[in-house]
């Protein structure tokens, strides 16, 4: 809201212990259970806690509201809760709250996460004031990730069965995280204050008292704000801008690793109709050979970004690397195309919605071997619709796997049974069987071997063109310490003043 005319700008700063961070995409509500974007996860981790958490140091799962756990068998897990965890309203977190939260998620079909949890969860029961037991329908490999992503709600706060109130926590939030919400203006900013009663846990106690997260859609405006001292922190900053900004001496730039990978999804299964050259293996292999991954990763993205040959980021669990590798070889690509019956190449609509520079670079590379690309770069919803209507022969996708270092995160959605999702265009039931089968066991070696087999098959048949891993660029003002984590996920609560 607008207040009076004040000619002097009052900047939040170290003096009043207030950090201002900027997001490009707007925060529309506070409850993580109703959002999917990375921004919601960052905010969720600041104001909420799940049973588990991904440690920044080694990307392993650590108990958060849980204090310890015990795997009883491959379908049963016992979890003890912290005794010192409290909601922002001061009440203690008990097993009742946890049971309520999971019941709410599973039984409230309107909730986005309902299906996912219901897919594996057989039951949750209270075994003591601070202990619970999960039973799953089958050995579920990605359990800890789900336990991390479900944030604990106070018993009864979301209504009761049959009378769920989905909007209860959208605009005010009674969470358990290191920060409390002071005020929230959707799409504009959220003002946070340190939760002095926070139990610490793997996130640790935050050093800065007040945090304001502003939504500033324009990256140029964000840079201007950073230079003029209006904000302290921004992310998703490209190499060139970050480096140039660092040169001015007004900000620090870090270009660190990210779990995000880029890839081309190819309609090998011929879902998009007749006469699709991509259904031919030689053509798909030719496309794999045609793109100069190394050059694009090094020159366009920079930092730790590298060419990737698997349908997952090499650093995550289960991402088997010893698969067929397609080196950059335009001549070979041309030969393969000729062999497939396209000596003069063909026309291809390539859809994309993100990373315009890389999409153009790729289109140019494909053009050099004869595949005349008509780039259809647009909004995600347009791509979603076209994909749903089976109009897409190839699209350029990326997957962030934010704070989930497991191949399951990317493979679960991309290799689904084609009857349940529209992204698996391989037309090969074997891929689905292998890649999703790996989620249904807790046996690490078995999972690894299933992924290995699946990833080898994907590479051999060139169902995708795996492209590269991304880097995450962050600009931070000179007055703060921000250290980038190996997964590129910004943990804002760890920022300290210099």
């Amino acid at each position: 809201m607008i207040t009076a005319l004040s000619p002097l700008q009052v900047f939040a700063d170290k003096s009043d212990d207030t950090l201002v961070a900027a997001f490009s995409r707007e925060l529309t509500q506070l409850d993580y259970h109703y959002g999917t974007k990375t921004e919601f996860l960052i905010l969720g981790d600041m104001i909420d806690s799940g049973l588990f958490y991904v440690k920044r140091e080694d990307l392993s799962y650590a108990p958060d509201i849980a204090s310890d756990f015990k795997i009883i068998d491959d379908k049963t897990i016992d979890i003890n809760l912290r005794k010192n965890a409290k909601f922002h309203d001061g009440s203690e977190v008990t097993a009742d709250d946890v049971v309520y939260t999971y019941n709410f998620i599973v039984k409230n079909e309107k909730n986005r996460r309902s299906k996912k949890i219901k897919g594996w969860m057989e039951s949750i029961e209270k075994t003591g004031k601070h202990s619970i037991r999960f039973k799953s329908k089958y050995p579920y490999a990605n359990l800890f990730n789900d336990l991390y992503r479900i944030k604990i709600r106070k018993n009864g706060i979301m209504g009761t069965e049959g009378n769920w109130n989905d909007s209860a926590q959208l605009n005010t939030l009674n969470g358990t995280g290191p920060y409390k919400v002071v005020s929230f203006d959707p799409g504009v900013e959220v003002v946070l204050e340190r939760n002095e009663d926070y139990y610490g846990g793997p996130k640790g106690m935050p050093a800065i008292k007040n945090v304001i997260i502003r939504s500033i859609p324009d990256m140029g405006t964000q840079q201007a704000e950073l230079m003029s001292g209006g904000i302290h922190w921004m992310y998703n900053v490209k190499k060139d801008i970050g480096e140039a900004m660092a040169k001015t001496g007004k900000a620090d730039y870090q270009l660190g690793p990210s779990l995000r990978v880029g890839f081309l999804v190819l309609d090998a299964g011929g879902y998009s109709g007749e006469g699709n050259p991509i259904t031919k293996l030689e053509v798909r292999r030719a496309m794999n050979h045609a793109i100069n991954r190394d050059s694009i990763a090094k020159n366009l993205i920079g930092g730790p970004a590298k060419a990737v040959h698997t349908a997952c980021n090499p650093v995550v669990f289960g991402c088997f690397q010893d698969v067929r590798k397609y080196e950059y070889n335009p001549e070979g690509a041309k030969k393969l195309l000729a062999k497939a019956g396209y000596p003069n190449g063909f026309d291809l609509d390539l859809w994309s919605y993100r990373d315009k520079e890389a999409a153009q670079a790729m289109a140019e590379d494909l053009g050099k071997v004869g595949i005349k690309v008509n780039l259809k770069h647009g909004k995600l919803s347009a791509l979603n619709k076209a994909r749903k209507n089976r109009e897409i022969r190839a699209y350029f996708g990326t997957w962030g796997s934010t704070a989930s270092p497991d191949t399951a995160t990317i493979s679960n959605i991309h290799w689904r049974d084609p009857a349940k999702g529209d992204r698996n265009l391989s037309g090969d039931p074997k891929v689905n069987e292998l890649m999703l089968g790996a989620e249904k066991t807790l046996d690490i070696d078995k999972r690894k071997s299933l992924y290995a087999e699946g990833l080898k098959l994907i590479a051999e048949q060139a169902y995708w063109v795996p492209l590269w891993s991304y880097s995450e660029g962050v600009l931070s003002s000179k007055s703060i310490n921000f250290k980038q984590d190996p997964d590129g996920y910004p943990r804002l609560w760890n920022i300290t003043w210099k």
């Binding site: 607008i2 999917t36 959707p186 799409g187 502003r214 999702g421």
Partner: protein, 304 residues
């Protein structure tokens, strides 16, 4: 008067209905609402479930009438994207856009009208050429470009104004200049040619033959006549600012209706977008009607 307003209200209403049909059908055809609600990672069955749950499986005509009857009951629907009733979004965002619209029209008035008067009084002089230059420039510079350049100059190089945001009226100065500049050419040209026409009119010759001259002649006898069309154009411009603030609000991170519209479109949020299109249309029609009434009120020839 009543008859006229009633007639115009019928036009407003029927145009509103037409536009609501067009936008409703267009949006529901372009965007799959079930997919939009379900999100990126949804399974097919989830999408189908949502489709049933929200009734998207019924024919689009049925849903349209449901939507319209909801509006008549005061229920504008709930945004999928913002998880809020659309009406509360409108209430939240309207003040910023109203402020921006009013301030930008003020900027237009402050620049265009004096410049137009000076240019008309000194045709082909330096000031006339300067005014024409400003008009041609303002016409040829895209809004988003001007916005970025303004930030570059007046927020960074010479830090007078804040870069972005909408906390205080001070935040609105740069965006108002950017948005207001786009109306300057039209208003200034109208002021100039209007005053030139008036100065050459027979009744000014009468006034001169009665002994009036100089500024007294202009202010007492010419200005009111020349301002009449300008006032109604300004009212129309004010109406345009509501729908036209999309880019400016996005560049300056002002949380108004324009930015809401942009974000809702990108977020495939059908309920918000269709209400916004409707609201922008009604605002435009309303200000047009106001312009006509104002003009008729100010111009005795249209009164009776």
């Amino acid at each position: 008067m009543l008859r006229f307003v009633a007639g115009r209200l019928i036009v407003v209403l029927s145009v509103g209905i037409t536009l609501s049909i067009v936008t409703f059908f267009l949006l529901n055809y372009v965007i799959d609402p079930a997919q939009a609600i379900a999100g990126e990672e949804a399974l097919f069955e989830e999408i189908e479930q949502i489709r049933e749950q929200y009734g998207f499986d019924r024919s689009i005509t049925v849903r349209y009438f449901e939507w319209v009857s909801g509006i008549f009951k005061g229920d504008l629907g709930v945004s999928y994207y913002w998880n809020k009733p659309v009406i509360s979004l409108l209430i939240d965002r309207a003040p910023e856009t109203i402020t921006l619209a009013l301030m930008s029209v003020s900027v237009t008035i402050l620049i265009a009208i004096p410049l137009g008067i000076l240019a008309a009084l000194n045709p082909n002089s330096l000031i006339d050429r300067l005014a024409l230059g400003i008009a041609v420039t303002a016409q040829a510079v895209p809004n988003f470009w001007l916005g970025l350049i303004m930030i570059l100059i007046f927020a960074l190089a010479i830090p007078i104004f804040p870069v972005s945001g909408d906390k205080t009226l001070f935040h609105f100065v740069l965006p108002s200049i950017v948005l207001g500049a786009s109306s300057v050419p039209a208003v200034m040209r109208l002021m100039r040619t209007g005053l030139l026409d008036v100065i050459n009119a027979d009744f000014i010759r009468t006034a001169r033959s009665s002994g009036f001259y100089g500024w007294r002649l202009i202010f007492n006898h010419a200005l009111r006549n020349a301002l009449l069309p300008v006032v109604s154009v300004l009212a129309v411009q004010l109406g345009n600012k509501f729908g036209g603030s999309v880019i400016t609000e996005s560049v300056f991170a002002i949380n108004g209706l324009g930015r809401l519209a942009l974000e809702s479109i990108l977020g495939a949020d059908i309920p918000t977008v269709q209400i916004l299109v409707f609201v922008f249309a009604i605002i435009f029609l309303f200000f047009n009607l106001m312009a006509d009434i104002l003009n008729a009120y100010l111009d005795p020839r249209l009164r009776l």
